[in-house]
Amino acid sequence: MNIYERQAHNRRWTWLIIFAFVSFFLFIGLGFDYYYGVRLEMPIFTVVALIFGLAMAYSGYLWGDKLVLASTHAQELDLNDPKQKQWQNVVEEVSIAAGIPLPKIYIIEDPDPNAFATGRSPETASIAVTRGLLDALNRDELQAVAAHEMSHVKNFDIRLMLMIAVLVGSIALLADWTRRSLFYGNRRSSRRSEGGGGYVALVILAIWLITVILAPILSQLMAMCVSRKREYLADASGAELTRNPLALASALEKISSHEGPTRSINQGTAHLCICDPKGTALGMKEGGMANLFATHPPIDKRIEALRQMAYIK
């Protein structure tokens, strides 16, 4: 796939995600109307849920990146600090190489090395690093990290990842509310099952309940799967920008040698980062469960792939 196909692919996936997201809200709303039986003639829950879902998706699209940056306490750079000035410089260099406008650049005061990019398009993109990354890496390695993030920006991974973050976050929230209201709510299902068609109603109810319970896990799994695939790609196209795959390999090595978790980055935005902010617990292992629940491919494999690009085995 070339870059234009990649962009188109990511745009399509973003729409699909938004569609799935809004239909999930619709589904929840329909269930409430069916289950609770408000005496109104209008499917009030459905309408509210639909409007809520659309509003969430739209505001997430517009302001999700600001929310992510605020939640990680990202700050503007202080250009008097030589290291931050250097970071600003490498990002500018890489944006020239990629031929895209200069993104907004941020720093996060966190000692654990990590970096992420967010935004809905290259024109509105932001790139953030932790203080730990600036301190741990040399110039070439910083450039490699900037190039990795820049490829996420250029092929619209950031837009897809942002929508997924919004989706995962609000589905978790909604499912939580739903479960609570089911336990404490005042339901009419008992009345309804006394009447005819009880079995069908029960089956529908069961499906609905299972969906509500599984949705947070499923959306999380999807986020991880989408993210894992794109990390290798961003590594490769980042290396293509700087023509220096070994710098990224050694950057990844240094990042993975810091075992601690990146505290300022929470679970909902983990898939945006260059390395899994949970620390190395899952990052190094491979196998069924680790593969399923990791937001990133094992770091060893990424380093090996980069080495092969430089013809070093």
Binding site: K85, Q86, N89, E92, E93, I96, A97
Partner: protein, 186 residues
């Protein structure tokens, strides 16, 4: 009947030529834009050099020769015209700057000077920007040239007077050196 067929074929050819013309114009403009990006970065470097020379002059007064070389190379680079000449002069300038920074290593008080290290960072960033802008320009110029030279676009390009874009090439000996590969890596 035959007349209609000929007319149809002619119309199709005209439409085809318009499409090719437009794609070539678009590539040409992208190439020009890529070239402007290089120019911006070259200018940035030209503006930084007097600062640098001013900062190190006091300490390095007896390296006058190198300093003069840098200044002269800068002035020649500013007045250079055309892609090939510009590339050649800029490469001379890169060489002179590299020599200067190699000498700075010999002066511990210069190396630890905050202004010098700031300027050094700015200049190495500029070198990278020039390199990346050149990479971007060469990629797009190559695309433009390939479009002009491959069949059947080449017929249209020839007729409409498109010319191949010159690549910004490296002629500096040091930059052409094969990079060392460390085979001891795990």
């Amino acid at each position: 009947m035959v007349g209609w067929i000929i007319l149809g074929v002619l119309a199709a050819m005209v439409i085809w030529m318009i499409a090719i013309f437009n794609s070539l114009v678009s590539l040409k403009n992208q190439t020009l834009n890529g070239w402007k990006q290089i120019d911006v970065q070259l200018k940035r470097r030209h503006d930084l050099i007097p600062n640098l020379v001013e900062t190190v002059k006091g300490v390095m007064s007896f390296e006058q020769n190198t300093l003069t070389q840098v200044i002269e190379a800068r002035n020649r680079a500013i007045s250079a015209q055309g892609v090939a000449d510009k590339a050649a002069q800029e490469n001379m300038l890169s060489g002179a700057l590299r020599q200067l920074f190699a000498l700075v290593e010999n002066y511990p008080n210069l190396k630890s000077n905050e202004n010098v290290s700031k300027l050094q960072e700015e200049l190495s960033s500029t070198e990278n920007r020039i390199g990346f802008a050149r990479q971007f320009y060469n990629d797009i110029a190559t695309k433009f040239n390939i479009a002009q030279q491959t069949f059947p676009t080449n017929m249209v390009a020839g007729m409409l007077g498109f010319q191949a874009a010159e690549l910004f090439e490296i002629k500096d000996a040091a930059e052409k050196e094969v990079p060392k590969v460390d085979l001891n890596l795990k």
